[in-house]
Subunit: 308 residues, 2 copies
């Protein structure tokens, strides 16, 4: 029962088609048909989706529509990064109040796609009262195979690709002052997906990996549960200006958490690729579900909606 | 800024993970990690997305949440059918008011996936005030190559896989009586995707194909515009109980419209596979954008939101 498409909506669709342009590979078709047609990849496919809903995942009092578009794309890109994979294609569904809003959302989506060399190859638009964004992503697994959450072994060392809590601290700043700016606010509004870092962790033989979208404690508990192990954290890398609580449960930093065999020279490998040094935060232990921080029990608290 | 997941939401995620079950192919991972991991296909990939929004695409006064889930899945399945392809995997994002509603939506999504032998391999859930569904689908192109909208040539014969207007007539019945039942109402609430028909049309060498989701006149105009041709319709196959206007502009029937070289024995090929006979409705002509029905100009009116 779709409502008649308005002229503005048709014009936006035409403009988006022009911006997306033709497929770059012979034999591929991107936007403009019933589906995109993509050449078959040589390695296994990665496939995931994330949604973002106004007043649940973002608030237009703090985030621009383009920020919301960027962020839902990054959430998807980060899922591929957490498998050690390379993102290749996305499709996007966006519903909102009027074409100007939809156009601004797509600005942010396209910025993120360009930044991560990922092609937006199709989508669907609709009117809605509450702004809703969905992105589905395709990626290619690394040659060594996708890094699952389930491969962690007792004794493996745990690394985090960077300090945590900046996004939560940025949100806190924005709640105090909707016009706040700076590094923490930027971390909240325009997070980065650690695609290069995830790819390198896969090449280093990471045994398990997950992106920290729901908070370190929560996402660590997903990794340890899938691997049937526990974890002892010696500390938590806290971003400058954030609290340890924000680092533990804030979420939305999109750093990667991975485990790797003891003795792997992770720091030097990252330095060789000019990537920021990952932080060793502890190790996996045999007791299932036992999570501790500096010897004290750690409660897996955080936020989760996905079942992917 | 996700809100804390409630226990009900976690329980639903766990229940969905159990229902989706393990991947059936060695080396594949479906739900339960950051992304699904799928074996690389031999033929080109088809990739698309469709969204459905409460009070825009469906009304819970007429459609159950499961009906809405079924229908958005079929809209996606139909896009793959319209390329002549075989649907293989979907991911779904659903946002709504409470876990019971989300669970019912997934009932319908899973029914459609089972009916079309397509695996639901991941998803994302959220709270929202307005119910929102998004599905992204992967499929495999047919061995002869995906059938685009753009390959139609003057002189090709136009076929439709079945009579049109039933869905629009069913909606009209429901608007008069929210409890109406019957074949037309069923066509509106639980449309079918013509996957076998699309596959056969590809094997018969269809030069162009599109699914009729926005109404025959609208979707024909998409096919002829992409092919740089016009079309002369001799008639419109009207479903029993529907009007010709409903058949021309109603949409949501999800029959396929395809063009094929003159003389192709389409009817017999469909009969051999025990498929309902397609209806020959006219032919493509050289004059671009010239659309006619029984010699009178035909206005491309209908509904469209996609830019895929």
């Amino acid at each position: 029962m779709p409502e008649p498409a308005r002229n503005g909506e048709f014009a936006l669709i035409a403009a988006l088609r022009r911006r997306l342009g033709a497929a770059s590979l012979p034999g591929e078709v991107h936007s403009g048909d019933d589906t995109a047609v993509l050449l078959p990849p040589a390695s296994p496919l990665l496939f995931a989706t994330d949604v973002a809903v106004e007043r649940v995942h973002f608030d237009l009092a703090f985030s621009s529509p383009a920020d919301a578009g960027w962020k839902v794309a990054v959430a998807n890109l980060s899922d591929v990064a957490a498998m050690g994979g390379r993102p290749t294609h996305v499709v996007a569904g966006v519903a909102g109040r009027g074409t100007r809003l939809l156009e601004e959302v797509f600005e942010g989506l396209l910025e993120a796609c360009r930044a991560y060399e990922t092609a937006l190859v199709g989508g669907d638009l609709s009117h809605s009262e509450q702004l809703f964004l969905s992105v589905a992503i395709l990626g290619q697994a690394p040659p060594s195979g996708a890094v699952l959450r389930s491969g962690g072994r007792p004794g493996d060392e745990l690394y985090c690709t960077g300090p945590l809590g900046a996004a939560a601290a940025g949100l806190s700043r924005l709640r105090q002052d909707g016009r706040a700016t700076g590094r923490l606010v930027e971390a909240f509004l325009r997070p980065r997906a650690r695609v290069r870092e995830g790819s390198l962790a896969a090449r280093l033989g990471a045994s398990a990996m997950i992106d920290i979208s729901d908070g370190l404690a929560q996402d660590l508990s997903h990794l340890t549960a899938a691997s049937g192990v526990g974890a002892e954290l010696e500390g938590v890398p806290v971003a400058e200006g954030a609290s340890e609580q924000e680092a533990l449960s804030g979420g939305e930093d999109y750093e990667l958490l991975f485990s790797v065999a003891p003795g792997t020279d992770v720091e030097q490998a990252f330095a060789r690729e000019a990537l920021a040094p990952p932080v060793r935060i502890g190790r996996l232990v045999a007791e299932p579900a036992r999570l501790s921080l500096r010897g004290e029990p750690l409660e897996p608290r955080g936020y989760s909606h996905g079942f992917g």
